[in-house]
Symmetry: C2
Subunit: 255 residues, 2 copies
């Protein structure tokens, strides 16, 4: 699925406003008459976008997969949420627990003027950033570490040890893209990584400061949590296979 996170309180159903989960569950109800729980791979926060979110649900009604895709897309209107592809899942598949790789992109707009066209989709940092220094500091964070400094204080995960497979810093015209990949992430981890690398880009922090922040295992030692606007869930993989590619395959019964 692709969605614009701007108008939503986030993926998760909440009393405080519209969520992507509730919109999807309503669409599934319109299709099947069944009230289901839709589970996703990456529970994005308010304002965070997705180009390659994956979700699953179980319904008793027998439907052709093409009918499911079409009907859900139809019933999701006018929400800015679309289903790119749908397929019958193998038994035991869970969008969240079966996922083996998640890739996010964090977009920074580094120029004096605020965005007009990308408003809500980039973090505006109105000064030049040293992309090379950011890339060097990013290398410190790749690998298996205790990322306790890089998670929200409300993060529920039991362990804060994670393996960052990829953290690339790429200049793209006036934008800087942070491409971040791992099996799983802590709450706000990518946004705190972005907030921290931005400090390096401004020349206020060195690579050694980032290493010290990581070693401290203390949230107050890392940089600020960057705003949700710049964040987008790009891709989720299952056993190395990209679901975001959208090419349907025959499901394999894994039981």
């Amino acid at each position: 699925m692709e969605y614009d996170g701007g108008p939503f309180v986030g993926w998760q159903r909440q009393d405080t406003g519209p969520s992507i989960q509730a919109a999807l569950e309503d669409a599934v109800f319109a299709l099947s008459g069944e009230r289901v729980h839709v589970q996703c791979a990456g529970r994005t926060d308010a304002g965070v976008h997705a180009r390659g979110q994956v979700a699953h649900f179980d319904i008793a009604a027998e439907k052709r997969i093409e009918e499911v895709r079409g009907a859900i897309t139809f019933h999701l209107k006018p929400n800015p949420i679309v289903v790119i592809a749908a397929e019958l899942a193998p038994k035991g598949f869970h969008a969240r627990f079966s996922a083996t790789y998640r890739r996010y992109r964090y977009r920074i707009l580094s120029r004096r003027s605020p965005p007009a066209l990308e408003r809500g989709h980039v973090w505006h940092v109105p000064v030049p950033l040293d992309v090379e220094a950011m890339g060097e500091a990013a290398a410190v964070l790749v690998g298996t570490h205790d990322f306790n400094s890089f998670r929200s204080t409300s993060c529920q995960a039991k362990s804060s040890v994670k393996t960052l497979e990829e953290l690339s810093v790429i200049r793209c015209g006036e934008e800087i893209h942070l491409d971040v990949g791992a099996r799983s992430f802590l709450h706000n981890q990518v946004r705190i990584l972005a907030g921290t690398l931005q400090m390096v880009g401004r020349g206020q922090w060195s690579r050694a400061d980032v290493a010290a922040a990581l070693a401290a295992r203390d949230r107050t030692r890392a940089g600020p949590t960057a705003p949700p606007d710049g964040l987008c869930l790009m891709e989720v993989r299952y056993d190395g296979r990209s679901e975001a590619d959208g090419d349907a395959e025959e499901p394999v019964d894994e039981d």
Copy 2:
């Protein structure tokens, strides 16, 4: 300037709704207390965007150029219009009449699902398009031709002969970008080019059909006018120098 054309009736001041010109003229008034006419390089239609629009105005008040940029950006809020760069123009400069090259991009989203993230910024064509065939047909249109088939029936230009310097068809993931450059364009020319090449991409028209449409000099023989959403004014040049680069230079007195 960069702007999101979505909420506007177009560049030009009209009684029917908010225009980019009126927003700018109000911002100049807030800066200088002077009611001026702001002139631009490309008078974009309703819903058409810009990343590199150029405009000029004359005020009597003496202001530092940095103050002009900052104040206009400030007074344009909350409109999705920003000033990327400002500079003192040489005497005799006219944003429209001095321009020697304009480059537009037309974005087509070629996939089954409608856009969620790029809504209002792409033309959604829900079938696969043959990009190679589109590129070959585009070559027919490059050069100096009578583009009478490729202009709105309400186009005011005396001559419909124009020189298309560039018409590239580039695949960019799920999008197809038409990059179109010329000294000047007819009304709706880029959108009719996009609508016509889309017919080729669908396999409904051949390269020879496009050549015949051009030769006919008859609007009814070309393809449909593609929607404004996909169109963006990317760059305007003056004597080969790109104003969209935004690097200020000392003005040269040409009188």
